[in-house]
Subunit: 336 residues, 2 copies
C-alpha cells in the first residue's frame, strides 16, 4: 500500500508517528507533507529510514492509497489547518488512517466525502466495544512477557520494542510486538489503543491482548507508554505495568533531557528512583525486575553518546545500549 | 426528590452506591429493591442511615420521582434481571439515575420508553466531551487539597471523604467534596466520573475539577478510587494521585481482609509498603505525605475493633480512627 504522511510543521523531531511508519511499517511512503520543509527529503533529516520527498500539500502528491496522519498534538485534537489536505485526499478517493483522539470518521464533512468517494476512514485509536476490567491473569500465561517502561514520553519505548522483537525474530525466536499506541497499531496492524480506553479498563485492555496471543508465541514484547512519574499520562503507564504483569522490564531513557517534556517544573528523578518505583509498584501485583536499559542518544556526537551510555549503565546497574546506534545484542542476551 | 433504589441480591454489603445514597444524599428514599430481602427494612441491616422498606420489585413501590441503580457489578454492565423494574419505572413516568458503565440512555427500549413517558435518564458515569490531558497545575492552586487513598477498593474512601468534608464544614471551614465516582457524583450532584474517562485524560479530569473549585473554597477533599496495587484499577488511582497533586493524604483500610477483594492471589502488602508506594510515587510530581488513616472496622466487636485500630495506627505511625464509630476529630486535627 502506498501512503502519504501528514506531518505539518513537525517533521522529523516532533513527528513520532511519521518516523515510526517510515522506519517500521510495510507501507510504500510516496511523500511526507510538511509545509515548513517543502522541497526537502526525509533522508536530509533522518538517515536510517525509508526515504521520501517532502511536499507542502496533498496537491503535490501523486496517486496514493491513503493519507496517514503522522503527528499527534498533545490532547490528540484535529488541527483545522490540515482540513484542506484531508479533504483533497478524500476527493481523490484516498482512505484515511488516523490515530488522533478526535475521530475523523465522526467529522461530518469527512464522513460525507468518504461516503461520496468510497473511502474508508480508519481511526486506529478507537477501542473496540467489548473491553472490560482486568482479571489479573497475565502472569499465568504461557509466554515470556517483556515490557518497555520509560523515564518520560518520547524516549524510545516503541522503537526499543520494535527493535527487540524484530531482532529476536531474526535470531529465530517466536516473538511478537504487543502494540499499545497509535503508531504501534498502525505498524503492526492490530492492537488496543490503551491511552484511549476507559480508564477502568486500562489494565484489562492490555491483558486481553496478552491472553489472545500468549498461546501462539514464546515472547510478547509489550510496547510501554508514558512514564510512571508523568503528570498527565502516569495512569496509562501504571495500568500497562499491572495489566501486563511483565516477567522482565526494559527501562528506556533519552540523553537529551532532565525534566519531563512539556512539564518543565517536574524534574526527572534519579535512575535509581525510577527502578525503585517501577519494581516497587509492580511487586505487590506481580514481581518483576528492570534487567536492562535503552538510552536514546540521538543527536549526540559519538564520544558524548558513549559517555552518556556508560553513565546510564552505571546508574542502572544492568546492561544498556542505544538500540539504533549499537543494535540489541546486549539486551537480548539478558532478555531471552 | 423521592427515589427507589435498586439493589437486587446485594443489599447491604455489596451495595456500596445504595448505602452511600442512604447515608449522605438529600433524596427521600421510598424503598430499596432487593428480591432476596423482601419484607425487611434498611434499619434491620444498617443502623446509622436513612430507613426504608425493602421490596422485591418496582410494582411494590409507591409514587417516586426516580429509580436509582444502587449497585454496580464488576465491569459496570447491566443485568438483564433488572429490566422489568427499569421498564416499570419508565412506564410510570419515573426518571432513571444510573452510574453503570453501560449507559441506560443508549438502551433502545429504555430510550424509547423514556421518550414516550417524558422521563429523563441520567447516566452519571458519562463524562463530558471537553476533557483533555492534565497541565500539571493542581499544586499551584489556592486551596488545600486532601486526597483519600486506599489499600483496596471498597475500604471506605468515599465515606471517609464525605465524613471529613461534612465535619470540616460543621466546624466552620469552607470545605467541599470533589467527587470522582458514581456514588459521590450522585450525592454531590456534580463531578467527573474518573474511572470512565479516556485513560489519557485521567489526571486531567481530576485537575479540571480542582481548577474550577479552588478559588471558591479553602479545602478540597478529593474522593480517591481503587488502590495503587489493584490489578485492575491502579491506573485510575495513579491518575488521581498525580492529577490532584494533594497536599495531604489519608490512607483508608478495612480490617476485614488481607488480600485484594476479587483478586485473592494478590496479598495486600504491609501498611509501610503502601505508605512508601503512595508517597514515593507522588514525590517526583508533587511531594505529599500520608498524615493520618481511616480504618473500616465494620462488623467487628468493640474490643477487636479497638485492637485493629491500635495496630493500624502503629503501622502507620500517624493518627488513625474509624470515622463511623469514632468521628473525624482526630483526623481533622492533623488535616486542617
Amino acid at each position: 500500500m502506498r501512503v502519504a504522511i501528514l506531518a505539518h510543521e513537525q517533521f522529523p523531531d516532533r513527528a513520532k508517528t511519521a518516523l515510526g511508519i517510515l522506519r517500521y511499517a510495510d507501507y510504500d511512503v510516496a511523500a511526507v507533507l510538511d509545509r515548513d520543509r517543502e522541497g526537502g527529503r526525509v533522508r536530509d533529516f533522518v538517515s536510517d529510514v525509508q526515504d521520501a520527498p517532502i511536499v507542502s500539500s496533498m496537491a503535490d502528491v501523486d496517486d496514493v492509497d491513503a493519507l496517514l496522519i503522522g503527528i499527534a498534538p498533545i490532547g490528540g485534537g484535529f488541527e483545522e489547518s490540515w482540513r484542506d489536505d484531508v479533504r483533497t485526499a478524500l476527493e481523490r478517493g484516498c482512505d484515511l488512517i488516523s490515530g488522533l483522539h478526535h475521530f475523523l470518521a465522526e467529522d461530518e464533512e469527512f464522513a460525507s466525502l468518504a461516503a461520496e468517494h468510497g473511502c474508508d476512514i480508519h481511526d486506529v485509536r478507537k477501542p473496540h466495544g467489548d473491553l472490560t476490567v482486568a482479571e489479573g491473569v497475565a502472569r499465568e500465561l504461557d509466554a515470556e512477557i517483556i515490557l518497555t517502561v520509560g523515564t518520560d514520553c518520547s524516549v524510545g519505548k516503541m522503537t526499543t520494542t520494535m527493535e527487540l522483537a524484530r531482532d529476536a525474530q531474526a535470531a529465530g525466536h517466536d516473538a511478537i510486538v504487543v502494540p499499545t499506541g497509535q503508531t504501534g497499531i498502525m505498524i503492526e496492524g492490530w492492537g488496543n489503543p490503551i491511552d484511549r480506553v476507559v480508564s477502568d479498563f486500562t489494565a484489562g485492555a492490555v491483558e486481553e491482548m496478552l491472553v489472545e496471543t500468549a498461546d501462539d508465541h514464546d515472547y510478547l514484547f509489550v510496547e510501554g507508554q508514558g512514564s510512571i512519574v508523568h503528570p498527565a499520562y502516569s495512569a496509562v503507564t501504571c495500568g500497562i505495568l499491572h495489566g501486563s504483569m511483565p516477567d522482565k522490564l526494559v527501562l528506556c531513557d533519552s540523553a537529551d533531557r532532565d525534566v519531563i517534556h512539556g512539564y518543565e517544573s517536574v524534574a526527572q528523578p534519579s535512575i535509581e528512583t525510577y527502578v525503585d518505583l517501577y519494581e516497587g509498584l509492580a511487586a505487590p501485583v506481580a514481581e518483576t525486575e528492570i534487567v536492562c536499559g535503552a538510552l536514546n542518544t540521538h543527536g549526540l556526537p559519538n564520544d558524548e553518546a558513549q559517555s552518556a551510555l556508560e553513565a546510564f549503565e552505571a546508574d542502572l546497574g544492568a546492561p544498556a545500549t542505544d538500540v539504533i546506534r549499537h543494535g540489541t545484542d546486549d539486551l537480548l542476551e539478558v532478555l531471552l
